[in-house]
């Protein structure tokens, strides 16, 4: 367990959040998925975005990373209104997003995947060093196609991008999807380490219990809105009823 209890649970009052969503709405064609999301990620903290499937977690992540346009509302990043910027611009501003499912190029080798990650300005050598130091298994597989690796190894590779590129905000979407519990907790140890280095992290996760220990704040999403923000412990109590319908 990281020392979550000591930090302030509620968004800092005096400091600007690194990332802020104000009344964000978004839709797939006629299907409105986000219906006014308000969310803040204070600098240096880990915010866990929880809630059942279909609540809008992934869409929120897509909006923040610039892949999905908003239909209303604003996205603020480090004091700048970045509503409507492209994913390319967002990533160059320091938003590192690891999308749901597969965050890797399946038909590229491990090393080539890291090469692509140099788009935000990092050097390949640094990326490789950081990745292989943390995940020695990747070093053995540097010439192997990412798609042929196990799900855990693919997720390690995806996470390596965050290790070497020094982002300001890290967005993690369903890091645990399809992974064995052992590997999931290993992943979150690394995320905890990144948080300790001062990276602000927004993590969407269904497996509430694996992410809550490292989270400073938990936000519960239901029906396209953030319905509760608070200390992880407070939100945790509500989870079981929200998920399984009592």
């Amino acid at each position: 367990m990281t020392s979550t209890e000591l930090t302030a649970p509620v968004p800092a009052i005096d400091e600007d959040p690194v990332l802020e969503l104000v009344g964000v709405r978004a839709a797939y064609g006629a299907i409105e998925v986000l219906k006014g999301v308000d969310l803040q990620v204070p600098a240096g903290s880990v915010v866990a975005l929880l809630g059942p499937n279909g609540g809008g977690k992934t869409t929120t992540m897509k909006v923040v990373s610039g892949l999905m346009p908003t239909t209303a509302g604003e996205v603020w990043f480090a004091g700048r209104n970045v509503t409507g910027i492209t994913a390319t611009e967002a990533s160059r501003l320091g938003v590192c997003s690891i999308p749901e499912g597969r965050g890797v190029f399946a038909n590229l080798t491990v090393r080539e995947n890291l090469w692509v990650a140099t788009g935000t300005g990092a050097r390949l050598a640094d990326l490789e060093e950081a990745a292989y130091a943390r995940f020695p298994r990747l070093a053995d597989r540097r010439g192997q196609l990412a798609g042929s690796m196990s799900g855990g190894e693919q997720q390690m590779l995806a996470l390596s991008r965050a290790l070497g590129t020094d982002p300001a905000v890290l967005l993690l979407d369903e890091l645990s999807m399809g992974l064995a519990p052992m590997i999931v907790s290993e992943m979150y140890d690394i995320v905890g380490g990144l948080a300790a280095e001062g990276i602000s992290i927004l993590v969407a996760e269904q497996f509430a219990r694996v992410v809550l220990p490292i989270a400073d704040t938990a936000a519960l999403m239901l029906g396209g809105r953030v319905v509760k923000v608070g200390r992880p412990a407070d939100v945790e109590d509500e989870l079981s009823t929200t998920y399984l319908g009592g």
């Binding site: 367990m1 006629a30 299907i31 059942p52 279909g54 798609g147 497996f207």
Partner: protein, 247 residues
């Protein structure tokens, strides 16, 4: 709970994508005259299993039996003609047709396939009435809200007079009121003898409607039973919320 006939049964279904096993050795059944739930966290393999059942994905192993016949190798269309119908999570409506024509065309297809003199017009009116779409029947299907669009997909499926109806997240995008009406519709259909299978994230709805629920996690069937049994299962709670991480 009725002990009615098993209409659909999967046994030992395995689907692998590259090195990952999306569905492993899954056996579920769906009975006539009841709503059966299929739930599980994201990435649990529900959609992949659905695709196997409807024929859009061929399993690496296992058998799918529908109405006593092995349909594992049949095309989606052949399964549909046997009485299987589905709706789509990402709405697959016919955007250049009106609401009424979206429903009517399903009847056109049945008529072309069977060469039976079906009165498509009358059947369309009946289904529109049943699903409460009559008031918006003349509208362009791209102009109606998502909640109603989901009902259009159900109405379209009903036009084929199916015996098994597979629903993929039908409640998403519906208002509470729409969901309520929708639940009544499904219950009514099941009472009339239709086998309904429901993949849905709105678990309160699932718990209320379904007589049996199958729970998938990591491609494995972790629980099958009544809503009460499933809710009480520690494996299910763990699948949804995650195990306590031991520090």
């Amino acid at each position: 709970m009725s002990l009615s006939e098993v209409l659909l049964e999967t046994s030992g279904v395995v689907v692998r994508f590259g090195g990952n096993t999306a569905v492993s050795d899954v056996g579920i059944d769906v009975r006539a005259g009841a709503v059966t739930g299929l739930i599980g966290p994201n990435g649990a393999g529900k959609t992949t299993l659905y695709n196997c059942i409807t024929g859009m994905q061929r399993p690496n192993a296992g058998r799918i039996v529908f109405d006593g016949r092995d349909i594992t190798r049949l095309s989606p269309g052949a399964r549909a003609r046997m009485g299987m119908a589905r709706t789509f999570q990402r709405l697959e409506l016919f955007l250049s047709l009106s609401v009424r024509d979206n429903v009517r065309v399903a009847g056109d297809i049945v008529r072309a396939n069977t060469r039976r003199r079906v009165d498509v017009e009358a059947e369309t009116d009946r289904v529109l009435e049943l699903t409460g779409l009559t008031d918006i029947a003349h509208l362009d299907v791209s102009d109606i809200p998502t909640g109603r669009a989901r009902v259009v997909e159900v109405a379209r499926a009903l036009m084929t007079q199916p015996r098994l109806l597979l629903l993929d997240e039908p409640a998403s995008g519906q208002t509470e009121q729409e969901t309520e009406l929708f639940a009544q519709l499904l219950q009514g259909l099941a009472d009339d003898g239709l086998a309904v299978c429901l993949v849905e994230h709105d678990l309160p709805l699932v718990m209320r409607l379904c007589s049996r629920i199958h729970v998938l996690d990591h491609g494995v069937l972790i629980a099958s039973g009544t809503p009460a049994e499933v809710q009480a299962s520690p494996a299910v709670v763990e699948a949804y919320i995650g195990a306590e991480v031991v520090a």
